[in-house]
Amino acid sequence: MLNWISAHEQYIYIVILMVFLGIEVIGRVPSVLHTPLMSGANAIHGVVIIGAIIVMGKAESDNYVALILGFLAVILGTLNVVGGFVVTDRMLGMFKKKKDK
């Protein structure tokens, strides 16, 4: 375990800093924007799609379990990313329209 920690030292620093950053960034959000923000954050964790692409791209062409599950993972991950950003944009579009007036 200690070896693992020293091998992943950088990653652990990233985790710690990101935890504080995530809290700082969201701490000042007015309640008006809670729903779009939750939706936007939802789209950002769609970054898991990158893992799905790697899994898919590494799968041997005779390993059907990996191919099928990886394919499903890519579809689901894309749904999360694309759906998430489009929904957020739609919600925020309503705010924007009003500002132009």
């Binding site: 070896n3 992943h8 990653y11 990233i14 985790v15 990101m18 950053l21 995530g22 809290i23 969201i26 309640s31 008006v32 924007l33 809670h34 729903t35 779009p36 923000l37 939750m38 936007g40 954050a41 939802n42 789209a43 964790h45 769609g46 970054v47 898991v48 990158i50 799905a52 692409i53 898919m56 791209g57 590494k58 062409s61 390993n63 379990v65 990996a66 599950l69 990886g70 394919f71 499903l72 993972a73 890519v74 579809i75 689901l76 991950g77 894309t78 749904l79 990313v81 694309v82 759906g83 950003f85 489009v86 957020t88 944009d89 919600m91 925020l92 705010f95 009003k98 500002k99 007036k101």
Partner: protein, 473 residues
């Protein structure tokens, strides 16, 4: 590889910047687009530039692009077609797909290790795979599965397809289930390679069941908290992938959302006076019923005509919107009533409870769609000050957020939740479809108070009648 590193750094910055800009109304939309742009370059960069440990490029491009095209089209269509009222369900559903994606990655990675090392006579799983590699696989599988199953149940509940269920001792059962899942995955790590797959798949199954049972007993009013929590779960599951592939952009994105989502969850819990532990064990909602004060008595109704006259001749009207407004799609009618009342010199404002509707900010989004201006929206504290000087409070399909039981009935399941103190106003008009209790299933004493008048009917229909009536005055 160097170029990909630069792309990942840029993407990470756009995620942070995007979240930051999303927290300000003026920059929110741009922030969302910036984060989306960062995500796009990260995806494209990964497809074309990623090299595995031995320096090979990815292959199976047909499958990858096929998946992206299918997911992209389905996601865009779903997001464009969904009604504003069904937005919370949609977010929950997208969250579930992210969780499922994380779980599938773990399953494929596990399957890969398993296939590469079996059949073998004497290998132990722990001899082949270092713990640091196995942990993110296990955590991704468990957290992703919980998030997926939970989000699907939350989606079903919000769209009315799944009803509340709970049984005695469910808290303890849930804890045992979670412990069993962890034990089972630990056993998989310590097992003979040939049999390691069985406990691993049992773990996934247990995590799925836990996700279902975790969300099932939770009442509708608490669903925002659950969605926000599951959102942060998926973030953590995505971060597990970052450890698994030494991929820093997955790590930044995932942890950022995990932390931000957890904070949002805690803030919401505070607004509803519940502890996070209580949420995690899946105990609130439904189960506390029985001992509450019985609310009996008579309620009085008010006619459209009377309501219109009273509002037209008052100085200040505060509208309290709730889920009923969203269901009836009455936000435009509501804005119209606001305008014609203002033309008559009445001051009109909106009081927004932090958890009104099915998600925090749900009402703000709806009213924004109808062009209601920002400065008319009062947050809870402001509104509670202003109710004292208000002539008429018009409640449109809100219930639990104005229930005085939260203040004075310790047996009530919502006891302790801050509410909009509408009874401070001179007159309260409540628009509801019927006398049935709200989504959380709790009786509301407010409706029986002498100050309160009921105006039954669908929010949109009632508002249109009110508008017509006010115009004739």
């Amino acid at each position: 590889m160097q170029l990909l590193s630069i792309i990942y750094i840029i993407s990470s910055v756009t995620f942070i910047l995007g979240l930051k800009m999303l927290s300000n109304p003026a920059t929110a939309r741009k922030g969302n687009l910036i984060a989306a742009g960062g995500m796009s370059i990260a995806i494209i960069g990964t497809i074309f530039l990623y090299k595995d440990d031995t320096g090979n490029n990815l292959h199976n491009y047909g499958w990858i692009f096929g998946g992206i095209v299918i997911g992209g089209i389905a996601g865009t269509l779903a997001a464009k077609k969904v009604k504003m009222t069904a937005m919370p369900e949609m977010v929950s559903l997208f969250n579930g797909t992210g969780g499922a994606c994380a779980a599938l990655i773990s399953i494929v990675e596990f399957d890969h290790i398993y296939k590469a090392n079996t059949p073998s006579e004497s290998t132990w799983f722990s001899d082949v795979v270092p713990l640091g590699h196995f942990l993110p696989i296990a955590a991704g599988a468990i957290i992703g599965s919980i998030s997926f199953a939970g989000s699907i149940i939350a989606w079903g509940k919000l769209s009315g397809n799944v009803k509340d269920h709970s049984f005695k001792g469910q808290h303890i059962f849930n804890i045992i289930l979670l412990l069993l899942a962890i034990t089972s995955v630990a056993y998989a790590y310590d097992a003979n390679m040939n049999f390691a797959n069985i406990p691993f798949y049992i773990t996934v199954l247990l995590a799925l069941v836990y996700g279902v049972l975790f969300v099932l007993p939770i009442g509708g009013a608490d669903m925002p908290v659950v969605i926000s929590l599951l959102n942060s779960f998926t973030g953590v599951a995505a971060a597990c992938g970052g450890f698994l592939y030494d991929n820093k952009v997955m790590l930044t994105g995932g942890i950022l959302v995990g932390a931000a989502g957890t904070l949002l969850t805690i803030l919401m819990c505070k607004a509803m006076n519940r502890s996070l532990l209580n949420v995690l064990v899946g105990s609130f909602g439904g189960s506390v019923k029985g001992e509450q004060q019985k609310t009996t008595g008579n309620y009085k109704e008010i006619s459209i005509n009377d309501a219109a006259i009273t509002m037209s001749y008052s100085h200040k009207v505060i509208i309290v919107p709730g889920y009923g407004l969203a269901v009836a799609q009455a936000q435009h009618a509501c804005h119209e009533l606001e305008k014609i009342l203002e033309d008559k010199g009445v001051e009109v404002k909106y009081a927004i409870h932090p958890v009104a509707g099915r998600m925090p900010g749900h009402m703000n989004v709806l009213l924004a769609e109808a062009d209601v201006s920002y400065d008319k929206l009062l947050e809870m504290e402001q509104a509670n000050e202003e109710f004292k000087s208000t002539d008429v409070v018009l409640i449109l399909g809100a219930n639990d957020v104005v229930n005085p039981a939260a203040k004075n009935d310790p047996a009530s399941p919502i006891y302790g939740m801050p509410i909009l103190e509408v009874e401070e106003a001179k007159l309260v008009i409540v628009n509801k479809r019927s006398m049935k209790p709200g989504y959380a299933g709790i009786e509301n004493q407010l409706f029986f108070q002498p100050k309160t008048s009921m105006l039954f009917g669908d929010a949109k229909g009632v508002l249109q009648q009110l508008i017509a009536e006010v115009k004739t005055l």
